[in-house]
Each structure stands twice: as C-alpha cells, then as structure tokens.
Symmetry: C2
Amino acid sequence: MPMDVFATPAGAVDSLMARGAAFLGTRYAILGGAMSWVSERNLVAALSNAGAFGVIACGAMMPDRLAEEIAGTQALTDKPFGVNLITMHPNLMELVQVCLDAKVGHIVFAGGIPPGPAIKAAKEGGAKVICFAPALALAKKLVRSGADALVIEGSEAGGHIGPVSLTVLAQEILPHIRDVPVFVAGGIGRGEAILSYLEMGAAGVQIGTRFVCATESIAHPNFKRAFIRGAARDAMPTVQLDESFPVIPVRALQNEGTKRFLEHQAEVIRRYKAGEVAKEAGQLDIEHFWAGALRRAVIDGDVENGSLMAGQSVGMVTKEQPAAEIIAELLEQAQAALTARRAGA
Amino acid sequence: MPMDVFATPAGAVDSLMARGAAFLGTRYAILGGAMSWVSERNLVAALSNAGAFGVIACGAMMPDRLAEEIAGTQALTDKPFGVNLITMHPNLMELVQVCLDAKVGHIVFAGGIPPGPAIKAAKEGGAKVICFAPALALAKKLVRSGADALVIEGSEAGGHIGPVSLTVLAQEILPHIRDVPVFVAGGIGRGEAILSYLEMGAAGVQIGTRFVCATESIAHPNFKRAFIRGAARDAMPTVQLDESFPVIPVRALQNEGTKRFLEHQAEVIRRYKAGEVAKEAGQLDIEHFWAGALRRAVIDGDVENGSLMAGQSVGMVTKEQPAAEIIAELLEQAQAALTARRAGA
C-alpha cells in the first residue's frame, strides 16, 4: 500500500485491520460473534455483505440442519463467512465435513480445546481453523496444534464465559502471540475500543451483542427491546452455589429465568445432599435447565422466563438499525478517535 | 512543551499523561490503588518518591491513627500523595479535617457516593476531590457535585468491586466526560494497557495489585508469595448466595477463607429462614466475616484463612522489585509499544 493511504484516519484504521481482514478475506477485520438462534443466515449474510465476517452459530444443530443453514446463507451472500462449532457436539466430525463439503473457508471451534482429529480434518479439507484461547499457555498450545487464528474473549462477553476480563487477557496474550492473528472479544461496542485493541496488537475484533438488534436479525422484537433497555450492569453471569456442583457461567440479562435457575440449582444440591439424586444426574439436570431457554427468548419472545444471553456491551445497544449502519458507526468512531489523537499530538 | 519532545516515545507518553500528572502534581499520571494494610507510609512514600502518586488507604483507621500515618508518610517523602477515605466511615468529616490539617492535597472518596458536606469541606479546605464513578450517569452527577477528577474502576480490580469491566466502562464513560481528568483502574499490569487507555482519553491510571510485591511494601512474605504464584483466574469475586442477602462482591485469590465465607453465608441464610436471626443482624454478620481477615493475611501472613484481596492483574506479578523499577518497567512497555506502532505505520 502506498504511504499516503495511512495519511487518512480511514486508511490508518484499514491498515491496522489489514492482517485480520486478509486472513478472513473481508473488507473489515470484524468477526460476528456466534449467538445461537440469532446468528443464522439472515444476520450472517447481512454482516458479510456489509464487509464484516458473519459466523453461523451451529450450536446444537445436527449435520443436515447445518448444511441447510450454510446453503441458505450462501444464497444470501457471495462473501466469506464462517461456522462456529461447539467442540463437545457429539457429531463434531460430521459437522466439520458438512462445512468442508459446502466450501466454508473458516471453522471456529468453541466451548473447549478442539480434538486433534477435528483440527486436522478441517485443515486438510482446506478450511482455516480459529480457536478460543482462554489463557496464554493454552494460546501457545493451540498455535502448536494448528490453529490459524485465535480469539481471546473476555468475561464481559455474553453467553458462556471464562473468568478473565478482556483488559487482562489482552495484556497477558497479545504481547506474546505473533505467529497467528489474534481477534479480541467481549464487551466491545464502540469504535474507540476497536482502535485501542488493534493498536495493542489485535488483528481484529469479534462482536456479538452489538449485532442482536440489527434490522436483519430475526431475534423477536421483545428480545431486541430487552437489549435496547438493558444496561451493562444488568448482564450478569450465573452464580455457582456449591463448588461440588460446577456450573459453566453464562452471562445474561437478569430476569425471572435467572432467579429460577438459582432456585433450581439449590434444589438439585439439596436433593443430592439428601441422597435423592446421583451427582452426575444432578450435574446434567443443572446444565439442562437452560436447554431451550435461549430459543424461548430469541424466537418466541418470552423475555421473562427465557434466557437473555448478552454481553456487557448491551448498554451500548440503543436502537434497531441495519448491520451495515452499525459497522459504519463503529468505523467512524475508530476513525474519529484517531483524528482526535493526531490533532492532540 | 516544544514539538520535538513528542518526537520520542517517552515524550509522547509524557504528553499523554500531562493532564493527569499536572492534576496530581507528579511526574507520572499513576495513582496507587488504596489497599488496606498494604497502602501505608512505606509503599505510599516509595510510589511518590518514584514519580507516581501514592495513596494512603485509611480504611477503618480512626482520626488520630490517620494523622499519625500521614505524618509518617510526610517524613518519608516531600512529594505529593493522597488519602483514600471510605464514605461510610462513621468519622468521615473528622478524617477529612485530619487530611486538611496535614495539608494533604488530594482526597479520594471510595465505597459510595460521598456526602455533599464532605466534598464541600474538602474543597473549601483546599484539597482536590477524586471520586469513583461506577456508571456514566453517576460520573456526570459527581462532576456536578464538585469532583475534581474521577476514577473508573473495572470489575477486574481487587477488593470491593462493581459489576462492569474496564473495557466497557471506558467505552461508556471516557467519550462523554471531558470536564475533569478520568483515571482508569482494574486489571492494569502492563504498559501497553496504560498507553491504550491514555489514547482512549484517560488522564492516567490507578494501579494497586502490581505494587503489592514492591520491595518497600510491608506485606508479609507469604502474602507476596501468594501474589507471585497467583494467576488471573485465581482472583475471583465472592459469590452472593441469595438475593435477599446482598453481599458486596470482593475479588481475592481463592483459599480456605473464601470457601468458609460461602459456608458462613449459607449458614446465616439458613438461620434467617429458620427464624433464628433477624435479617439486619444476619446481613451484618455476613459483612463482618471478613473483618480482620485482610490484616490476618497481609500482616500476619496467614494466607490460608486470611483474605488475599487481589485484582486479575495478579498474574502479571512475577517477583519482588523496588517500586521505582516497577514504574520504570510500565513506562518502558508503554514506550516500546508506541515505538512498535510508529515503525508499523
């Protein structure tokens, strides 16, 4: 690129995003966060058509259903997009094959360290592999195992989360991983933060919550309204009541459902202690509490009892607007921040 | 300052810190986090002598004891330092007067919105007032009430914490508060993060955890060893078991004490539900559990049962070293990051 491109803030932001965008094959190094029920063909295609990188959330879909969703997305966009697969899905290897058969270029493995054979199959099939790195040691291990890019996701993200915030993960991981692009995620809702993490060495960002209220998102109007009303402090992780019953924390807007989850946990623990239920069954019972709850909120609009999974950036969601407009706004904020800095120096 | 000062990264970092440093009267816009028992005369003076701004943690000290600590600090440094007062201290007004009598230039009010008369007395007595702002609306209110500077502290901080991470608070508050300097806090342990938040518009940073293992810190060797061993994911907030018994979350390294706190909470809640204890007494009982526990760990070195309050930046504490060396390291990291950026552009 000629030097004078960097003379404009837009050019400078593009140049900070260059490595991530080249890796994704997109205009902007912005990955859509994979949100079950929300990140389907409509939102994914809208993000990709707007120059970002949409990601289908496979979640609990079976292979046929995923193949359908990929085909549906391809009918709506000819731009690159990815598929997010949960590593503990019982049909993981088949799902990888579905992606390869459909020529999906990037597979994101989430919810744990992906098994070696899944990484191998994806790469041999010509896809690039993106993994979530929850700590520096694991980041290094994932790169050695063949990950082509990493996402570091802070605990301010929505849905299932790790314990460490993005500010801390970025300091611990970004200075030490140079071999592959690293995308940052969790709580990002404005362009100033995008610029800031790009300048710290991130190749790009992953954003979920901010896109829930995209016009193209099929989320129920009630679900969108809850996001527009919600403040950062309303998006809280679930609580683990007893260390002998580990709960994977899930960040969501608090409602009747989150209250009932706490009561349900307490009841399962009581039954376990009274010898009425075996430990493993109790554990499964707790994890199953939310099954269907997200669909109930996103699709059916039951925002009282369903699960309102949301990141802390929910406070920055103020209205419904087209995906392209959200992306343009984020980039304008990044560019304005850069302009202000240059004026100050 | 002449333009050529900004040509060097050190000059550019200085210039980003200029507003905060001018406000504090220091070389660097780095506030010491006020940590009870740790932030006493030795660490405070060491930070101020090294060009940062030490802050005495008054905590539960009574006025005479605070006067003594201030005098002790003044005997060790002729540089500016501040005093952190907890707004709910029963002798708050007397403590303000002690600070004013000793010509302390900056009073930091923590643990809640400070009462109007305390702000008024501090300002009329010639001190500058620094307040913690947990959300944008409160930040604006505090500025209207006379706060001369704000600290926004993310939930990755140690000790008593709010619910929102620094990445999110920075996006929500920094673009909207220009009238007073805003310092950022929570999880900051490397210079890259300092640079990044300065460029987002912060006037400076507040750092606590990173200074616990300063050579000058009187923390017990066991306490320091626990910090050197601790990883980010070990520094977890206390859990609230029941919404009818609110617990102010405290972030600390997990140990026998944190386990026992959970058991103690459960027991108090059980007694309340059985009608054996009144609600208010139960509440007080829960809050009192930790009284003395921090002293037990910091001073006596009982790291099993005491409270190991620590921020998530604890993973970035790797050895004991002089305060001046820690500060130099943070600035070198900020400058190196700026150099790398300029080389990249």
